[in-house]
Symmetry: C2
Subunit: 351 residues, 2 copies
DNA sequence: TTGTATGCGTTATCAG
DNA sequence: CTGATAACGCATACAA
């Protein structure tokens, strides 16, 4: 029936304590005992009872998530929602999760991770928004033997336990293929986005890279593509007129590709200036983006299961550290296409 | 810290046994005791420890899934994969799951459910493929007080505990909107599908209904739509020439909408007869469909997270019957759009 | 109607 | 290096 520790202990002719020590490699045991116990396990096929283990466990696993303040970058609302879902499920087990927020400055990120390092942490999740700081952080984690997961942005060279997110280059390619659908002969696509000052994230660049690749591969003339990029302070409204002028002087533009998650800003301008006949392809199902999708200003949004990202990241740590399962090193989530007709059913997505 | 049964027993001035009886409504208790215990629970906020409960539990919950043989309808491979994933996760708990297969004949379905009814079953999952038999089955289940979940197909009037699947009408609408993208002035869309004899499923009809609605709502002329439907025996190849003739005599057709999951059959004909300039919108990421998607014969596939459907159905039963949580009555999953550029990342999707 | 005792399979401690 | 044993929180059988 069910094989227990005591069953294999009897079979091996030792006590339960010894079996436990051998299974978990804690304490010292004689080679003789190790051999006998392993043999018994092979023959009888022991599977630990999670409930019993959990009940008896004294130690609590401690996971920490470092995420940017969703009030500053709205994108993070949904990964956090996913984390909260995971926290609920993990409440059955001896696992404790803390979420630490930082604001979008390198210094704030540094403070956050120093705070995390002061705690006794068994596993950690963060998005390497800041290239240099992330590197320093990762090195310290490796030194302290604390496994960590990269979420949303992947800095492969830092060798995280696992990356969870989207293939940004392929997402850019997909955006390009959707743009092409709406593009007639001799019409243009514009790459336009507005970002805060000094916000240059690798995944945004990857999306643009994939986008351009697609057009190149299809042998489409590059002159069909123009770019409009502004780095501005969050509250600066000066760009609005600049944008309007740009559009007025580019009558061939039919599609605008917005590679960051703020397509709603561009959509807002189309609405404000009553610009017709231009459609937008953007990223992420933020509330504001969805609003303009439903109004027809945005034709497609490419989404990345943000909630699921948050959920999976914690579940991965759980799988790796609680159950000692092997996990895949790169977990690329689906690249979702949203339009007016399917966006209403997207929010329930969890996963 | 953690509130245990014994804690609230002390607070209420009774024994642990009494608290247990009141929480689970087993055995008789005095009104006085009930009141005191409930008060204590309110004040202290008791949450049962799942691990301890699970360890002590004698009874095993028994779930049964009735699914059609995936060798006959390939669609079912993925829901079954999702069920297997759920079974793995539920292995931690005192839950046992059986999957019973039936082949696509009403008689076989009837045999399957009679087999299920003979077992001691606590919860059940099935797709109501056969209208009449499903009704009889549901009535028996209600009589025996066995909760059941409808998967993939929804027969609302049978009042399942929950439905998990896609909004087929909306999926049809989405298909129509994607068709429209590829449709120029004066061009036609063809609704074409090949099904086995006497296979008329409600969700296929709903997709067509949604599809037609979309065109009607947009004020598009209905004469742009033509239909080609064949009910044939699985091995009958006679339809191939019929199809070819139909296409030859309909030069305006630019897009073919295939409302069932066998777009690969139509795609295969386009390939075989070297028909160019026509693209297909179909359903479900079956292996064969994906092949033709990658080859360019199919432009879009609309998918329904089949694996997730299977997974969720078991998790729902678990939530409802093991933890006694309230669950939503209708769980509509996202309507996914697949094309060449994102299909490779779709398979990993779980949920 | 109520209280008590035993056991579920593991962990962790302590004495050998 | 090893064996014995007391928790862990709940369910359940039995005694009162």
């Amino acid at each position: 029936m069910k094989v227990r520790i005591i069953d294999i202990a009897k079979k091996a002719g030792v006590s339960a304590g010894t079996v436990d020590r051998i299974i978990h490699q804690r304490g010292k045991c004689s080679d003789d005992a190790i051999e006998k116990v392993n043999k018994a396990i092979d023959e009888m096929g022991y599977e630990p009872d999670i409930s019993a283990r959990n009940l008896a466990l004294k130690k609590v696993l401690h996971f920490v998530c470092l995420v940017s303040d969703p009030n500053e970058i709205k994108y993070w609302y949904r990964p956090i929602a996913g984390m909260e879902k995971a926290i609920k499920e993990l409440a059955f087990f001896k696992v404790k999760v803390d979420i630490i927020y930082f604001s979008i400055r390198a210094l704030s990120f540094r403070e956050a991770y120093q705070k995390a390092l002061k705690m006794r942490v068994d596993g950690l999740i963060y998005a390497p928004l800041f290239f240099e700081e992330s590197k320093i952080f990762a090195e310290e984690l490796h030194q302290n033997n604390i496994p960590f997961i990269h979420l949303n942005i992947y800095q492969r060279e830092l060798n995280p336990l696992c990356f969870i997110g989207q293939d940004s280059i392929q997402a850019g390619r997909l955006a390009a293929s959707l743009c092409e659908l709406g593009l007639g002969d001799n019409e243009q696509v514009l790459i336009a986005y507005i970002s805060g000052i000094h916000q240059e994230y690798s995944h945004i660049n990857s999306r643009i890279e994939g986008f351009l690749h697609f057009f190149a591969e299809q042998g489409l003339p590059m002159k069909q593509i123009s770019q409009f990029q502004l780095e501005i302070d969050e509250n600066d409204k000066g760009y609005e007129v600049l944008f309007k002028d740009y559009i007025d002087s580019s009558p061939k533009v039919r599609v605008i590709f917005v590679p960051n998650s703020r397509a709603y800003r561009i959509a807002n301008l189309l609405k404000k200036f009553k610009i017709k006949g231009i459609t937008i392809i953007g990223f992420d199902a933020l509330e504001d983006n969805v609003k303009f999708l439903n109004q027809g200003y945005i034709q497609f949004l490419i989404a990345q299961q943000s909630k699921n990202q948050g959920y999976q990241s914690l579940m991965m740590l759980f799988k790796a550290l609680f159950r000692k399962e092997n996990i895949v090193k790169e977990q690329y989530l689906p690249i979702d296409i949203l339009c007016k007709e399917n966006v209403d059913f997207y929010s329930g997505k969890m996963v």
